[in-house]
Symmetry: C2
Subunit: 435 residues, 2 copies
């Protein structure tokens, strides 16, 4: 028995095929049984005229429940009256492979929390299937760019012997009588790879944050896209890579899924023009203050309100959904961000904002051992626990820079989803470890 | 300043270029200074005739240390006497971007443990760079096959609310006042995706095993390749996918890296013929016992010695490096492996052995709720903690099967490395959490 996908049916008119899928809808009328069957490529109507004695198909359809997994064999027949592609299947054999219990625990009206409890049922909806189709397209496009530009795919460890940059917000793991920590970012490891002579590093993998945050864009575990590039001349090289990558990503998403995204989410995928707008943090703060944001003039960093307002200003001015904010003050950036020669009060760093939300932090890193140690001390850090990191700068390390991008946020914004919870296969938050 | 890669130099004869890299070797003779510079694409000789007064290049080369990061600008000149591609660079400018301390902590004679302590220096060796180039090729080839066959790229959570299949060997994580567990495998989650209507699941991600194992093929954290396929008719469908994937992988590795692998590791990459040999566990045991293995006849599973011996037998008979061992006894397989109708004492499962080492476990899963519960109980399991898993089989779940493959083992065997430690960027074992 060979499977035919629902999307392939138009090529099989007047043939006998077998489709595998789920019972989406049952309309069992007095003389005709209509059963809509769904697979991951679409919906098809199966139409059965109730027969006489021993009609096993009639009996199967009477007994089957919605969401049962079925195999339906039958003839593909053109029928202009059928909305689903103008065709239907006249069944000759029905197999209920796995019956669903009659009462489903969620329906279209169920709230997000209970839907997450039954996530496997939730993602059967075509709109949710689309999320993961888009994710696949996004990653493929990213890897195409990475491959063309000579990146090495790396897997950095998630178990660390010492807590990374900030001791807070890190999960502790019992490890053969000692404590390990879950990596909050591949940051140090990808720099280690650069120090190891790997020219360009690319990784997509899990990132863990023990933050008790309950916003629509935070998770305790999420998928990070990490990039590190050797021999950069500044953060600009990293930004230029990121905009090339995102341009490719959104071109692919628009081409392959633009219509479906519009249909399911009412969101238009805009392929961004290159280059993306850039604004220094100093200019951004000045622009925002002129609009009344931060009336006291004390903020050195953008808060979510500032990020939204800035994207609004830039969109109004340029029509662009993205903006790179550059040269963050050294005070709000980690010790390892490089400080430009012309102004050591700032860093050779950036955030990328999209539709009002930060999706990336990036920077050129300080690669000179003495400066790195001095900057760590200036931040009041104990360099002892950092020694494994600092050692990487003692034996010849090229200038380098990189970025980290949250895949869930990117998907959430690309599709116009209300929360990262809906852009993640199985969301993890302070109150959610299941399913 | 534009960078020219060492591998590109033959196309730039008689031009002035700048190469970025590390000082590989210094031979500072009385009249001539020879400096070999290495980037990730090769080695080039830089030749400087000592000059007269104020020779800043002479001074730079006198002061520079091996492994310092440098930028060298100069003219590319043909010189048939130079072994490295018959060309050399006559420098006009030397910049020491990041000096190396004079005494390196490891050299060619250093043992594996100390080399792992200084892994970033260890991987500067071209042979180690090759490991990660091959890894990149392997993953790209896998994803090509996955894309062609309609797989969805998924990221399953690594933080779990309940310990997966075996309570032992799982790392515990402090999680906001409760305990989470690190996923030993994406097994349950990828099945959940299948129950969620995702037709084919593909994931490459970290896997955590709290096993105190110290063999050459075990790690506490490794990169797993996971596949799950809906609507299979048996384990055969999964094996057929895996051999297609590995055929593609080894074809790509042989083409792109075959010569380099032979040069650096003396290993010949053999593109396997399709199909791979298959042998049932019962036949494998009988064949092995005939050779004297397990003289008491008590083993139901293959031990490492049995795996090596079986691969030896198959290689002798068929010339093939791979063998699928099928139909493992139900006693040695997890409760969720499907048992074939014709013999419920075995499972619809397989291992894949390559060159004497197990690299994959796979199976068709039991998708029928009642049987699954019965099999769990038969194994003496408490179904309470399993309820989240079992719920996925209550609302229509298609037959499905999948496999898990260790990327490090695959690389180790493809290259002929002595240990998974050398096939992993940063190895994690019971005694190793650093660097």
């Amino acid at each position: 028995m060979t499977r035919t996908l629902v999307a392939e049916l138009p090529a099989h008119l007047e043939e006998t095929v077998t489709v595998y899928g789920w019972v989406n809808t049952l309309r069992l009328q007095r003389r005709i049984q209509f059963v809509l069957v769904r697979d991951h490529t679409g919906l098809v109507q199966v139409t059965h005229l109730r027969g006489g004695e021993d009609d096993v198909i009639e009996a199967a359809f009477e007994g089957v429940t919605v969401e049962s997994a079925v195999k339906i064999t039958g003839r593909v027949v053109a029928n202009p009256q059928v909305k689903l592609g103008g065709l239907e299947i006249v069944p000759t054999r029905v197999e209920v492979v796995s019956p669903a219990e009659p009462k489903l625990p969620i329906d279209e009206k169920t709230g997000i929390d209970q839907r997450l409890d039954w996530r496997f049922l939730d993602i059967r909806r075509p709109s949710q299937q689309l999320v993961f189709d888009v994710q696949t397209t996004v990653e493929r496009a990213m890897r195409e760019v990475a491959a063309e530009e000579g990146f090495t795919e790396l897997h950095t460890p998630k178990l660390m012997g010492t807590a990374s940059e900030s001791g807070a917000e890190v999960f502790e793991v019992g490890y053969f009588g000692r404590t390990a920590y879950l990596a909050q970012s591949p940051q140090f490891y990808k720099q280690m790879a650069i120090a190891g002579g790997i020219d360009r590093v690319f990784e997509i993998g899990p990132v863990f944050r023990a933050e008790p945050s309950f916003t629509s864009r935070h998770a305790t575990e999420f998928t990070g896209v990490d990039v590190e590039i050797a021999w950069v001349d500044g953060a600009e090289d990293v930004m230029a890579f990121e905009e090339r990558m995102l341009h490719r990503v959104l071109t692919a998403v628009a081409e392959r899924h633009g219509a479906a995204i519009a249909e399911h989410f009412g969101t238009r995928v805009v392929v961004p023009e290159l280059p993306f707008p850039r604004i220094t943090m100093a200019d951004a703060l000045a622009r925002l203050r002129a609009t009344g944001w931060d009336p006291e003039g004390v903020k050195e960093d953008l808060d979510p309100e500032g990020e939204r307002a800035l994207c609004g200003l830039i969109a109004e001015e340029t029509g662009h959904e993205f903006v790179f904010v550059t040269r963050f003050p050294a005070a709000v950036r980690p010790f390892y961000h490089l400080r430009p020669e012309d102004d050591p009060s700032v860093t050779e760093s950036f955030d990328l904002l999209w539709k009002g939300v930060e999706i990336t932090t990036g920077a050129q890193r300080e690669h000179r051992y003495d400066r790195l140690v001095a900057q760590a001390r200036e931040k009041g850090m104990d360099t002892g626990p950092l020694s494994g990191y600092l050692d990487c700068f003692r034996y010849g390390t090229p200038p380098h820079g990189g970025l980290g991008l949250g895949l869930g946020r990117l998907l959430m914004l690309a599709l116009g989803l209300p929360s990262i919870r809906e852009a993640t296969f199985l969301f993890r938050g302070p109150h959610r470890l299941e399913p």
